[in-house]
Structure formats: C-alpha cells, structure tokens
C-alpha cells in the first residue's frame, strides 16, 4: 500500500512537471548551461580520467576503513575541542541538535546549506520547538521564503526563474518593490540576511568532508554565508552523514578539484572553510563551542553490502542529475524525497526502503549519462539494476530495506513466460511465429501497447523473421 502511494506520487508529480512549460524551460536552460560549463572544465580527457580515478580511490579507501576512520575522527575532534554526537536515526539527530540549542538558550539559528539537515527535516523540527532557523544560502533562502524543498542538491532553487523570484521577494520581504534586476534582488536578500547573521544565537552547517587524521571539518561554498554562519554565532553545530569522512588531509585537494568543476563548472570553489576547533584563547572570532553530529540513518546498512557501498562514495556534486534526461524533464520535486536524480534513485530506496521508493530505480533508461560524469565513478546504472533485482526478489536477505516488496505474481509469471520463449530454440521458433501472426492483430489499445502507441505508431512484426530469412539465404549452415 505504501509503495503504491509513492508510486502514484512519482507518476502524478512527473505528470504535473511534464505539463509545466515554464518548469521544463527553466530546467532545460539551467542543465544545458551546467553541462556545457562542466564539459569545458574536463576538456582534457587524460586529466579527467586520472583525477576521477584518484577521487574514486580516495572515497573507496575511506569507505573500506569507515569504522576505524570514524573512531579516529571522533578522537581527533574531541582532542581539538569539538563535541561529537552520534545519531542512528534522523529523529535522534533532530533531538540532539535541539538539545544543544536548548541547553545554550538559543532562539534563532542561521544555517549554511546542508542536504543532510533536509534529510532530517530539521527546520520543521526546530520551528515546532520554538526556534527560528534562517537559511543563509541565497538559493535556500529563496525556497525557504517560498515554503518549498530544494529541487537540486547544489542549486536548490534552480526550478525558479528570475520573474518568479522577483514576485516572491515582492510578496515576502517587507518594503521590497517588484524588480527583476538581479543585483537589486541579491541586495535585498543580503540586507534581510545581515540582520539574521548578527542576531543568530547559533549557526548550523553541513560538512563536505570530515578529515579523520586531523579532526577537521571541510566546508565549501560560493557566497561567504557558510563562513559567516560558522564563525559569527557563539555556537556552531555541524551535521553530516557518517560516510563523509576522509582518511587524511592530502585526500582533500583532489576532491576539491573534482567537486566544483563537476557541479557548476567552476575551476575552484570560492570559499573553503576548514574548521578544526572552537575559538581558542586570544582568538578574535569563531564560535565558542563546536558540535559535530554524525548521522547514520541507514548508511551503515548500505555500507554492509560491498556492492551497494559504492553509493556512499558520492560527494554530492549533482553532475549526475545535471546530465540525467529524466531529471532534466521532471525536476527535483518529482522525486518526493530529499535526494533527486540518479543518486537519489539509488540513495532513497536504500535509506527509506524499497517499499517506500521502489519505483524510483525504474525511472531510468539506464542510459549511463550519470555514470559517465560521476567524478567518483559510482556505477549508478548497475546499482539501479541491483536495486531492481532486490525489489522483486522475495524476502532477499540483502542489505536493502523492503527487499522483495515490489514482487508481483503477474510480473513474475510474465518473466517466466519470457524465459520459456527465449530459453529454448524450439519454443522460440514456434512461439515467435505465433507472436508474429497474433501480434499484428493486437489492437493499439491492448494493455502496455496502449502506453507505447499513445505517442508512437504500433511496431509491425515482419512477415518473415531473420531466423527464416537467414535459413533461406543459407546463413544457417556451417
């Protein structure tokens, strides 16, 4: 039942998105631009090949040693004066963050961009408990004003165009006249955010990489807001999935080269923040206390399967979604859950369960455009096939939550029939002959054919199969 509800939701949402010309145009324009910029960054295929092999190796190594590295990270963070918390579930993580804020008497929070807090629905949790979170990344700020969720993991409001943002600002920011002038719009947001920065009791951020060797939290961003949110307020809480750990500081530069170039086509990111401790005696800025919350939420289960583990290599660059022909057409909100696009189709069913999001691995043609551009070489299409397999394997003892929940007896029967037909030369010969006879008589409105013929003509079986023609022309004789 749950699976059906979500299935409806994906299909229904895709239907709405596909019929929204403005949304289609916004995505197409944005993704075309991003693809071109990324391609220019990696024009040197030799450099790309070796750099991404290095990126993949660094991430694979970190995952291979994940338990040890997490222990080392905790020890080094503690030594540096960073408090470390472990959360098994998003509910636990929310409670931990709330607890820290309440203990400090914090009422307002300024947030840097963080997908993991989206995964936790942290803002809603804080608001419910009387704490006001303000998003400081421009894109996040815009969608917060609009009461929406991100539609992309790097550019959360890519689904909106200038006019829509102008309208939103005019509506939601007091005294803001309607203008499509980008500088004026940015200035308006900046003005509104300045006050929030100055008055915030705490800052919350995500983490791009957590370095075990040194206990350092690495955060990259373009707007400087991340730096403000992690240095200005007296309290900083960093939240991250447990998979974001790296073994050593030397692992950071190759990934810093791959990430922004893959994401936005920028040669480098504008800000790299490395947080290694709270403010020390004699230092003029920085928070007095730093907390790190490490969230599992199903990640260790994914980690337990050596094939699916590759999912966790992801550095959240979004290149896969920028290049995905499905994402480009339906946009991020269609995916319902926090992570959209190819990586979302992999991550969501694994974190939330196949019974929840099992249709998502099927929303792909396996065209491999995602795998082609993934800077850490995640074999996304192969893992999608793996999840499809898990979804119909009854009660598989695998690592995947809800495995087998999509199995249906009619589908299983269908594939049994297929195997019977294609698994024996004799049955194939007789069966295809009959298929040819009856197939062409089938009305276009027949089940399955109906979907196909809604926009295409009906395929016609040839009068004679290649098997027959090959025999007639003497190709079958050795």
């Amino acid at each position: 039942m749950v699976a059906d509800a979500h299935k409806m939701e994906f299909g229904a949402k895709a239907h709405v998105a596909l019929n929204d010309p403005k949304l289609r145009a916004n995505f197409r324009r944005a993704m075309d631009g991003l693809m071109t910029k990324r391609a220019a960054q990696f024009a040197d295929t030799g450099e790309w090949t070796s750099l991404r092999a290095r990126g993949a190796a660094i991430r694979a190594n970190a995952l291979a040693k994940l338990p040890e590295l997490l222990e080392q990270l905790e020890a080094n963070c503690l030594r540096n004066g960073i408090h470390v918390h472990w959360a098994e579930t998003t509910a636990e993580a929310n409670a931990i963050v709330l607890g820290i804020l309440e203990a400090a008497g914090a009422r307002t929070v300024i947030k840097g961009k963080s997908m993991v807090t989206e995964e936790m629905h942290l803002n809603a949790h804080l608001e419910k408990n009387g704490i006001t979170p303000v998003e400081s990344d421009l894109g996040e700020y815009i969608i917060q004003l609009a009461g929406e969720a991100p539609s992309h993991i790097v550019m959360p409001c890519i689904h909106k165009n200038k006019g829509e943002i102008a309208e939103l600002f005019h509506d939601k920011i007091e005294g803001q006249p309607y203008t499509e002038n980008v500088d004026e719009l940015t200035a308006a947001a900046r003005k509104a955010l300045r006050g929030a920065f100055a008055g915030a009791d705490a800052g919350i951020s995500g983490v791009n990489f957590a370095v075990a060797e040194t206990g350092t939290l690495v955060l990259i961003e373009n707007e400087g807001n991340g730096r403000l949110s992690t240095t200005l307020p007296p309290l900083h809480i960093a939240v991250t999935g447990i998979e974001k750990v790296l073994e050593k500081l030397d692992d950071v530069p190759p990934l810093l080269s791959l990430l922004p170039r893959s994401a936005t086509g920028q040669p480098i990111t504008t800000y790299v923040n490395m947080i290694s401790s709270p403010r020390k005696d004699g230092e003029k800025d920085g928070p007095k206390a730093v907390h790190l919350v490490l969230l599992d939420n199903g990640r260790s289960r994914v980690h337990g399967d050596t094939e699916l583990r590759d999912t966790l290599r992801c550095i959240r660059c979004a290149a896969c979604m920028n290049h995905c022909p499905v994402y480009t057409r339906v946009g991020g909100h269609t995916y319902t859950f926090t992570y959209p696009g190819p990586i979302g189709k992999l991550l969501t069913p694994q974190l939330e369960g196949i019974d929840c999001a099992g249709d998502q691995p099927h929303a792909s043609t396996l065209c491999r455009a995602c795998a082609d551009v993934c800077p850490v070489q995640i074999p996304i299409p192969d893992l999608l096939v793996r999840l499809r397999t898990e979804s119909v394997r009854p009660a598989a003892p695998g690592a995947v939550k809800g495995a087998g929940s999509m199995a249906s007896s009619s589908e299983t029967m269908g594939w049994k029939g297929w195997t019977l037909l294609y698994g024996s030369p004799l049955i194939y010969r007789i069966g295809t002959k009959m298929l040819g006879w009856f197939g062409n008589l089938m009305p276009s409105s027949a089940p399955m054919l109906k979907q196909w013929t809604s926009v295409r003509t009906k395929p016609k079986f040839a009068p004679k199969s290649l098997h027959e023609l090959a025999r007639e022309k003497g190709f079958c004789d050795e």
Binding site: G11, A14, H15, L18, P325, V326, R329, V330, H362, A363, S364, T365, L366, C367, R368, A369, A371, D372, V385, L387, R388, T389, E390, S391, V392, R393, W415, K416, W418, T419, Y422, G423, S424, P425, Y428, T432, G436, Q451, W452, T453, V455, R456, T457, P459, K460, F461, A462, K464, S465, L466, H467, E468, L469, A470, R471, K473, F475, C476, D477, E478
Partner: protein
C-alpha cells in the same frame, strides 16, 4: 580495441528485435560481412542476449537465456552484433552475470569475441565503401549503450563519412537518450514520451531526411514517434543504409 587478425568466418547474432521486427537490417549486416569475403554463420539456436530480464531485475531468467547463447556460439569465431545495446550487454555484463558459476570462464571468453557490427567493419576489417547512391542528408543517432557500454563512438560515423554522396549533419543533442529504455517506455510512459518528442524535434531541426542508427530499439521509438506526429524524416538501420548505398539504391 586492439586490431585483431582478419578471420575467415564470423558468427552473426541477430538480436530479438531485429529477428521479429527488422529482419532486413540483420540480413543487410550479414551481406556486408559476406561482401568482405567472410563466411557468415547464423546459428539457428540463438534467441536473445537476455538484456530485458537483466534490466528489469530478473537475473536468474536473464542468465538462463544468456546461457543458451553461450551454447549457441561455440568455438572462437568472432560474434558480430548489429546492435550496440546487445553487444554492450554481452561484452560488459556476461562476465559479471556468470561470476561464481561454472559458466564464468565461458562467459568471459564469449564476451571477448563480441563485436558491434560497425566496430567490426572498421576496426577489424578496415572496409572501404563506394557510394553509388543519390545525394542525401542524414543525421546519426547513437544508442546510449553503444556509446557508453559497448564503447562504439567513432566507427559508425567513420563509415558514414566514407559515403561520398552522403552529407552527415551533427545533431547537437545526439548523445541524449531517446527515451526508449525497454520497459521504461511503458513503465514511465509520460517521461519517455517527453524524451522521444525532444529527440524527434532535435532530429527535425538538423534538416536531415533520414536518421541512421545502429540500434533498432531506438529506431522503433524514434521513427514510431516521428510517424505518429507526421514528421518528415525516415529511420534506417546503419547496415541497411550502407548496403543500399553500395548497391546504388
């Protein structure tokens, strides 16, 4: 792909789509090989590479059908396939599908003998084509699996460029998926429809009168949509197209 010595004979794997819907494309592929002086053998026991089952998550079923192909193509003759998608399946997925089974070594050896048709014509046979056809403007559609799984990118275009009366125009959205994806076209019919509509529009914009492809799945999708929306271009499998040019038709 290392050039391998020119063999005296090859196997031809027809693919299930070609067998039932586009047999002329398969026949043309075999003719092209025969014209090069090769003995072409079409094992009658062959059926399907197994990709439909694999991609839908039915691995045992896929393996059962794939095993039949391992049996049908014994020895060490090259196996030529007029489809980048099926070639990609046999080259990259057969070895992993049979890992840990008694058939693994066989599957690995089999996969190394698989060639997509244009890859074989260019890389192994080094064919020279003489164009006897009328001037025509075409565009190329690579299947996703031929580009990204079988690794066949340049060979088909190299063949088409040999044809002196053929103008090959580039489609700026050439590499983008046409939205076929087997069951995807039915399971996610609306998204697939949007994708093929964009593909048809991009082909129309090139001004070509034909779109040539090495994969009948894409062709069925693209030409089906073009016909339904009455667009003015035709679709051809590359084997049929080339053979016709060589015969002056």
């Amino acid at each position: 792909m290392p050039k391998q010595p020119r063999p005296e004979s090859v196997y031809f794997f027809g693919t299930c789509l070609i067998d039932l819907f586009y047999p002329e494309a398969g026949l043309a592929g075999m003719e092209l090989l025969k014209r090069e002086g090769l003995k072409v053998v079409f094992p009658p026991e062959q059926t399907c590479c197994g990709q439909p089952a694999r991609n839908n998550g039915y691995q045992d079923e896929a393996r059962a059908v794939a095993r039949l192909q391992l049996d049908a193509f014994p020895g060490d003759r090259p196996i030529v396939v007029p489809s980048g998608s099926c070639a990609g399946m046999m080259k990259t997925h057969y070895p992993e599908m049979f890992e840990g089974t008694p058939d693994h070594a066989r599957a690995v050896a089999f996969s190394q003998r698989v060639f997509e048709l244009t890859e074989f014509l260019v890389d192994v046979l080094g064919v020279t084509l003489v164009d006897k056809g009328q001037p025509v403007t075409i565009t190329w559609h690579p299947s996703c699996h031929s580009q990204r799984e079988a690794g066949v990118v340049e060979q088909p275009k190299a063949l088409l460029r040999q044809l002196s009366n053929v103008t090959l125009v580039e489609n700026p959205r050439e590499k983008e998926c046409c939205g076929f994806g087997g069951a995807f076209a039915v399971r996610q019919a609306e998204i697939s429809a949007a994708m093929v509509a964009d593909k048809v529009a991009s082909i129309e914009e090139t001004g070509a009168t034909s779109v040539v492809s090495g994969d009948c799945g894409c062709l069925m999708n693209i030409t089906g949509a073009a016909e339904k929306s009455k667009k003015g271009f035709k679709g051809r499998h590359i084997a049929e197209f080339i053979l016709e040019r060589c015969h002056g038709r």
